[in-house]
Symmetry: C2
Subunit: 145 residues, 2 copies
DNA sequence: CCATCAGTTCGGTAAAATTCCTAATTAAGA
DNA sequence: TCTTAATTAGGAATTTTACCGAACTGATGG
């Protein structure tokens, strides 16, 4: 759960970061930012499109895909690639995801389960790790019964 | 690095598991199993198709997709969903993946980096975790220079 | 060893997800 | 306000993955 104050702060932070990097803040981008910044359910691109279209009916698919890609490239949101869909997460604080193999349900879990070292660090001979994505896969409560 | 003896053991184990579950061991499936069991580079479905077609020229896309799905469903290989592609890993022993954000390169790393508890375990109110996928994302040595 | 038949394959088609293209529009700086 | 480069809409193309019907085949029982 995240408060409206935090969401507003996020929106501003996302928009500021893009403008600082010389990108234009269009009406469409701002609305997409507002949608993804406040989303608690890790929507996919199509879901973002559907939601923002209620406010911006002419919004095109491509604009949503590009806006989300820009946000990901600037490290403002995370792209979560699951076997079912590619979803987006506005929360970049340390947490992990539980994914149900049978229904695709995705839920946040705390960092208590899997211990991840502080980023960034270097794996000798491989590269520099900036972000660690942990997916806990199994069966959710609903599908168990 | 994995020896030819281990690979042969894997092929047999994969084939036996499917036959035990009542599936038929066709020529096509066996060749796909042989290909993925010995793959050290986490190929995607299309790559598996291309490789097996050198031996089985009439092999269809669909057959490869179905065979890989069957192997995943039986827990014999892992489906790795990355931002660039869906890849497959015949190694189900505890290890993790480094993925380069800039070139897509995927490499195995040991379990030293991120500590994962023994599966399965239950996350209260969420579900039962069977498998943990850890992706270490950053920049590989090649892209750093 | 043969007949049977459910499971499997092929080839084509379809669906879904993502990207590309071009003309028209618009945000931002001068 | 004017200028211009970035951005958008809409359609079309591409890519990945799944579906379908007809033909085929591995395994089982006789």
């Amino acid at each position: 759960m995240i408060g409206p104050k935090m969401i507003a702060e996020r929106e501003k932070r996302f928009a500021d970061a893009l403008v600082t990097d010389g990108l234009r803040m269009t009406h469409q981008r701002l609305e997409i930012i507002r949608e993804i910044a406040g989303a608690e359910d890790h929507p996919d691109a199509d879901e973002v499109l559907r939601r923002v279209r209620t406010r911006v009916p002419t919004l095109s698919q491509d604009t949503v895909y590009r806006a989300l890609a820009v946000l990901v490239e600037h490290g403002l949101i995370a792209r979560i690639t699951t076997p079912r869909a590619t979803r987006f997460d506005p929360d970049r604080s340390p947490h992990q995801h539980f994914i149900c193999d049978s229904c695709g349900r995705l839920e946040d879990v705390g960092v208590d389960m899997v211990k991840v070292p502080e980023s960034p660090w270097v794996v000798p001979g491989v590269g520099e790790v900036r972000t660690v994505y942990v997916q806990l896969c199994g069966t959710c409560m609903g599908c168990r019964s």
